[in-house]
Symmetry: C7
């Protein structure tokens, strides 16, 4: 089962990160504040701007950066996903 987001909404799977503290100790992701990165797994059909449907600027597979309060958490088949508007995404990680 999957979610087809409406309009300018985007479904994101939050990425857990292994992190190294300044002193070099690796902490598992859940001992820290939530990472602000994730992978786009579905995008809405776009939004009407000045009478024209504009598709979104992100696509499935993009790695995106967003604020720590972005989006709403939804559970699909037991997995926690984020659903946010494209506006809440700051940018796409590349390279």
């Amino acid at each position: 089962m999957k979610i087809r987001p409406l309009h300018d909404r985007v479904v994101v799977r939050r990425m857990e990160e292994e992190t190294t503290t300044p002193g070099g100790i690796v902490l598992p992701g859940n001992a820290q504040e939530k990472p602000q990165q994730g992978e786009v797994i579905a995008v809405g059909e776009g939004r009407y701007v000045d009478g024209q449907l504009r598709p979104l600027s992100v696509k499935t597979g993009d790695k995106v950066v967003f604020g720590s309060f972005a989006g709403n958490t939804v559970k699909v088949d037991g997995e926690e996903l984020l659903i946010m508007t494209e506006n809440e995404i700051f940018g796409v990680l590349e390279g």
Copy 2:
């Protein structure tokens, strides 16, 4: 008796879910926080955007996901239904 929602409003029947706790005990839906899923049972005629009537992106029968504070509760023939604007719906469950 049924409700014909106005403009971009949608009538949703909240879905009760059986859930399994981490330890494997099945709890009836009403012992937990309200599920955020439901089935669309009626949709409004759409909204005027830039001078054109745009029909909604959801249709009767769609299974939708929405925030826990979405919509207003109305009682029709003793049944509690939710009526919300399409904007409050995050996406449609498929597959």
Copy 3:
């Protein structure tokens, strides 16, 4: 004497409902929270949207559902009526 509502406003006569409690006792309407249903008794001429006057989507005689804080109470010839914008109406009861 009657009220001609302006623009997108609608005059509604709140419907009192007889209700049966779970145990089967009928309570008169005023012992409970206010019903959220009413009958439209007058509608405004409509609203200008993108340069065109759009008539309202409800008409006199419609039975409508609305939130418990919708509208303002006005007294005409001793009768208490509600006057609200069409936006505050969730939908029309049919059937």
Copy 4:
């Protein structure tokens, strides 16, 4: 001396009402909450909507109904008048 209201503003003379209590005692208007009715005594030239000047929907002499917090009180030649935008007027009393 009189006030020419600007744009979509309307000058209203609040109507004092004699009222009969349920038990039949007539109370002078000032022993109760302020009436929400008045007579329009001047209207502005209208408002620009989508590039066109639209005249107001009320006219001098109309008896109007409005919320108890509508408008601002101004004193002209010792008389207290209300000046409000047309939007704050719910409807016109007729018949």
Copy 5:
């Protein structure tokens, strides 16, 4: 030295009023709440509405009525003046 107000701003010289109390005693203006009347001494060039510059509806010399919190106080050559947007002006006193 004088102020040329920008856009839809208006410079107003507040009018002090001699007032008679109910008992007939004349109080100088500064022993009471501030009068809400003044004289327009300069007006801005207007505002762009739907792509066209619209000149203001008040002109120099107009006696205007405004709310007690309207505008900002500025001092020019030692004189306290009010500068407000035309929107804060309720109407023009005439006759």
Copy 6:
């Protein structure tokens, strides 16, 4: 080094004023509340309004009046300057 303000922003150098108290004693500017006057030292390229770039209504060298909370303070080469949107400027001092 200088600042080129973006869009409808304006860089202003606050003017210190010598002031005379009612009793005739001259106080240096910094013993009082901040003056609300300044000189425009740079203006942005303008703003898009209804699809057209409109240049600003103030220009370099103008003496402007603004509210005491207008703008943000920025330091350029050790000098404190204000940067505000043109909207925060009430008017231009002339004559």
Copy 7:
């Protein structure tokens, strides 16, 4: 790895400044309030205004001035960067 900002967002690397106190002692940047200057390292593709995509007014390499609360902090390859909308940038430092 780098961030491609969306729409009207801009990625900025905050500039640390060496500062001299009034008495002439040089303090390292981190003993003071955060500097409000930075260098643009990536810009979004622009924003739709009245139906047309307008590119941003800043470009990679520009030294920009912004308020102390502008933007969100994101970490890319261990480096802390700011991502803000162009609107939060006051101006560009030149010369």
